[in-house]
Symmetry: C2
Subunit: 348 residues, 2 copies
């Protein structure tokens, strides 16, 4: 796996001695941290898969298990808040293995002086999101640190789900010929947070897409054979495709003209010099689907509100394994590569 990463992302790393924002970006520096620090220390078959969740065989069944820390700023943004994000993010990481999410844990780190009213607002938002996804927040923990030792509130959720029999989904299972399906527009979450943070005039016009995707996955599984699934959160669609291409040792060819992007999001990205391909989403998925099932799966996706704008954006190929190529708007071809570091810090 480390070699595949090296293949798709030649590492021009200067040796670093301290953590930089880019280590949390989901890009090359994140991959380096995983490869050089976490994998050697924790080495085991689950972690080595580099999926966003572990699937563990217990008592004859299979349990999906995942965690994410949320440090988004601001805590409340157009279309959502840190609580909704923390629930949907973990529900979605479970769903990306094909699992039915069962329950979540929630651990809060609070800064002394944080308004209890905001804590109540976040927990109520988590409760609504959990109810919408059909999961319980079954266990939790709260720690308080002195003023100045944390920025208001961090929320870490973990979750467990049940993987149905016969389902074998992993970022490493894409095969040449598979069609690449995207569930809707990209960049909404990242630009909603950024426009609030930067006080742009788009503020309020762009809403985060935060949403649970477990029922969309259920509908897709019923319609055809799904090989790989990922929700393109931090690092965006571009990063997810690079990771899946590397993990599955397939080439990926996509067409920019087929990728839906909202007009406001495109404009905001241009203003800030960002590429929507690398901007975070919190209610979208990208999937590698067996070619003959692609039409049926697409139709099933479009019948659900969270997949209404789904599109086939490309395919997996045997050529250039680990590399993602994109036909651009003007008909050229570019290599899609992992961003080096941080495009948008603290976006989730």
């Amino acid at each position: 796996m480390p070699n595949d990463f090296t293949l798709s992302c030649p590492p021009p790393f200067t040796p670093r001695k301290t953590v930089v924002l880019g280590h949390g970006s989901g890009g090359k520096l994140s991959a380096q941290l995983i490869r050089e620090i976490f994998l050697p220390a924790f080495d085991n078959p689950w972690l080595r898969k580099l999926d966003d969740q572990a699937v563990i065989s217990i008592d004859g069944g299979r349990i999906a298990f995942t965690t994410d820390a949320f440090v988004v700023t601001p805590l409340f943004f157009p279309g959502g808040d840190i609580g909704e994000l923390a629930v949907n993010g973990t529900v979605n990481d479970l769903a990306m293995s094909g699992a039915r999410p069962v329950c979540l844990s929630a651990a809060f780190i609070l800064e002394e002086g944080f308004p209890l009213e905001d804590l109540a607002r976040v927990t109520q938002s988590m409760a609504r999101a959990a109810a919408a996804a059909g999961v319980a927040i079954a266990t939790g923990d709260t720690k308080v640190v002195n003023k100045g030792s944390a920025d208001r509130m961090f929320v870490t959720t973990a979750g467990i789900g049940v993987v149905p029999e016969g389902v074998e989904i992993s970022a490493s299972n894409a095969r040449p010929g598979d069609r690449v399906l995207l569930s809707g527009t990209i960049g909404d979450h990242g630009m909603a947070v950024m426009s609030r943070r930067e006080g742009l005039e788009f503020d309020g016009a762009i809403l985060s897409d935060t949403a649970p995707l477990d029922r969309l996955v259920e509908a897709m599984l019923a319609a055809g054979e799904i090989h790989a699934l990922r929700d393109p959160t931090r690092g965006g669609l571009g990063t997810s495709l690079c990771e899946m291409a590397a993990a599955s040792k397939v080439g990926v060819e996509i067409d920019a003209r087929l990728i839906p992007v909202r007009e406001e999001v495109r404009a905001a990205c241009e203003l800030l010099g960002l590429d929507p391909l690398f901007v975070a989403n919190e209610g979208k998925l990208v999937s590698f689907v067996r070619a003959e099932d692609a039409g049926a799966v697409l139709a099933a996706m479009r019948q659900r509100p969270e997949g209404r704008e789904a599109a086939i954006i490309g395919e997996a190929v045997a050529a250039h394994p680990g590399m993602v190529l994109m036909k651009t708007e003007i008909g050229g071809t570019r290599v899609v590569d992992l961003p080096f570091g941080e495009q948008l810090p603290r976006i989730c």
Copy 2:
């Protein structure tokens, strides 16, 4: 359950508008936060039990699920570090349901500028602790926040384990007549951290007791009928006993002279004006055991290194349900009540 808390801890609460350090203490303010914010929002049967883990029926089996955030300062202290604590703490919360721990997740929140060398040291320490407890760190996440937005490093672990058939352990299952068994000396972890933090002359003489307790619990289960188990971490033995008495609606009577406390710990507590009964432990458990099995369970505990100093320190009674009484060193009797707020902030 909220009413039981009210019973054992008459709430002289002034209305608060912001989070204070005491909300993370494990004492009355923590209980208030759970009762007034988390329970109403997340209400479900698992959370309502107020155990340190949820036990969930999946596919005919039972899975224990738990989480804890770790914000201890300093990160490295005599006898351990935040990584070892994060693994053992979650392993122990699983073990307290009688579960065999299977795997953990680890979510890191890092401050920009944190030395990579320290990150490597912590992860290696986590790996050693996981190997010692026989669990895998199967999934994880890393977020980085800008300098000043977090104090170096926070680690949140979650864990899943398998509860063996026939095992029914909960803080609410203690019964009158049960013997109260304690696995060893109290206060070591809290005073190890405090002596380092305060630069006391005890620094280095007192070591944290951080240790996995899953094998001790396994030995206890093989020796007799265990009704309730808890690891007295923040809030200490006193808080755990108050919570178990309230949850089980039993009275508890213990004898201070039977509770082992190291001489150095006692001296350090006196110097800082602390009561060892409320100081954190990270490798101890307290258990309510069926009276006729108490001798056999005690013998089994003493055969393991982490239970060598185990002792029977009292019993559960039908009188004064929810109230813990302690015979003092000088022969008097005192009520053991939940501490109001924070005795030792950021101890775990």
